[in-house]
């Protein structure tokens, strides 16, 4: 049994009276690539954003690399102290649909900002490592460019490199290619595929069924705030058990 990187138990999230996540259990194991799929509005983003506390859960517990981010005691959720939360969160990397690069910083500065400011690492060392990462995402010649001078695909690759620069235990992707043209989608997916081959632990919210089928080690179908189906991609897609998943796949493949 591989190391459990993230342990999620009975996670619940409501916005006011609207219960979006209704109790999800999940172990994210080392080297796993999990594809999160499901109809629009089913709570995929919300679930992902609870993992790094972009949203506060309303119930359940989350443990990241052995550190408890939050836990439920007597029906009340307790988060770790703020400083601890920041440390735990920095063990996860996040890639957003809209990239969210820092526009006033060059590509290289984007990559070294948090390692230097948050991890207090040696700047020279960070620069060397950042250049390695840029080479990896195919942007070695862009270190001095500003985000506004890059294509969407290039920006997203920088964003991936920025996440990796923190040496996170798990990378979270929220529809990383949804804002991109098809040609640019390919270059981003290729990078993610390479990461998967290197056994990077990843959770990817995606509508790219090809990616989910060929790259993911596990597919999770979320519907109505719970995990409806999960398992091997070929199994889940080839042999859907619930009517909802059949319906979902039919719409997608149309």
């Amino acid at each position: 049994m591989a190391d459990v990187k993230v342990k999620i138990r009975n996670l619940k999230k409501s916005y006011g009276n609207l219960e979006v996540i209704k109790g999800i259990d999940l172990d994210i194991c080392e080297g796993e690539v999990i594809a999160l799929v499901g109809p629009s509005g089913c709570g995929k983003s919300t679930f992902l954003r609870c993992i790094n506390k972009l949203e506060d859960v309303t119930g359940g517990s989350i443990v990241i690399e052995g550190m408890t981010l939050c836990e439920e005691k007597n029906g009340k959720v307790h988060y770790a102290p703020e400083q601890e939360v920041r440390k735990i969160v920095s063990h996860t990397g996040m890639v957003f649909q809209q990239f969210n690069l820092f526009p006033h910083m060059t590509v290289l500065e984007n990559l070294i900002e948090a390692p230097i400011q948050v991890q207090k690492r040696n700047p020279q060392e960070c620069i060397v490592e950042a250049r390695e990462l840029l080479k990896k995402v195919g942007l070695a010649d862009k270190e001095n460019a500003y985000p506004s001078q890059l294509s969407g695909g290039q920006q997203q690759r920088v964003a991936i490199a920025r996440g990796l620069a923190m040496n996170p235990g798990v990378m979270l992707f929220d529809e990383p290619t949804s804002a991109l043209d098809p040609e640019l989608t390919v270059e981003v997916l290729k990078i993610m595929q390479e990461l998967a081959a290197e056994k990077m632990t990843m959770v990817v919210v995606t509508h790219e069924m090809g990616f989910a089928r060929d790259v993911a080690s596990k597919v999770i179908f979320i519907d109505e705030g719970i995990i409806k189906e999960q398992g091997d991609p070929h199994e889940v897609f080839g042999n859907p058990k619930s009517e909802r998943l059949r319906q979902f796949l039919k719409v997608l493949l149309k």
Binding site: K53, K87, N100, P103, V118
Partner: protein, 215 residues
């Protein structure tokens, strides 16, 4: 020309007073305006409401009225300020309200995604503000701050009503004494020169903070 050289020393004294008001006002009003902008965006409602009220009050009444208030009304309730201090207090109170609104809209213009990205990288609130948000805000607020600053140069002449010997009053005294219009021209030249310098300074800062914006 001889006359100009003759009046220059007196006018410089006036310029000194105006410049003093200008510098002190900026020095206090900008940080104060910034803090109030944070208050205006605070999650704590009473703070938000208080700042909102303050801004409404300060922007909704004439600066001249505020000058009179601090000069005449405060001594009446036992708070004694020298005329110079009364002027500074009025200017700082008034201008900080305007700066507050400028900073508030500047901070509000930064997309939520910037805060989220910083959060996922483990940055603290202070780090996020200092390293990520404020450098972007500076670029956005520079043009309106530049405007306010240039307005302030000319607004300093309002202390005229408090019988302070700023550039404006000095000028008028000279005109009345010598029956010569030249001091007006010299004063105008000074205000124009100050505005020119400020415009240059702000252009430079703007350039520095706009490196990343695609031409």
């Amino acid at each position: 020309m001889d006359y100009v050289i003759y009046i220059i020393p007196q006018m410089i004294a006036g310029i000194g007073v105006s410049l003093n008001i200008f510098v002190l006002t900026l020095l206090f009003a900008i940080p104060l305006g910034f803090l109030m902008a944070l208050g205006r965006l605070s999650k704590i409602q009473p703070i938000r409401k208080a700042v909102e009220f303050y801004v409404w009050l300060m922007r909704g009444t004439p600066l001249m009225l505020q000058l009179f208030f601090f000069y005449f009304a405060l001594p009446a309730v036992g708070i004694l300020l020298s005329d110079f201090n009364a002027a500074i207090v009025a200017f700082v109170f008034n201008y900080s309200a305007y700066f507050c609104e400028i900073f508030r809209s500047g901070i509000g213009a930064i997309p939520k995604g910037q805060y989220e990205a910083a959060h996922t990288l483990g940055m603290s609130y202070t780090q996020t503000m200092r390293r990520i948000i404020l450098p972007q805000v500076v670029r956005i607020v520079l043009p309106p701050v530049s405007n306010e600053t240039i307005t302030l140069v000319k607004d300093t002449s309002l202390v005229y009503v408090l019988a302070m010997n700023d550039l404006m009053r000095t000028t008028r005294n000279l005109v009345q004494r010598d029956f010569n219009m030249t001091p007006f021209l010299v004063a105008a030249a000074f205000y124009l020169f100050a505005t020119f310098i400020l415009t240059e300074i702000f252009n430079r800062i703007e350039k520095k903070y706009s490196k990343h914006v695609q031409q």
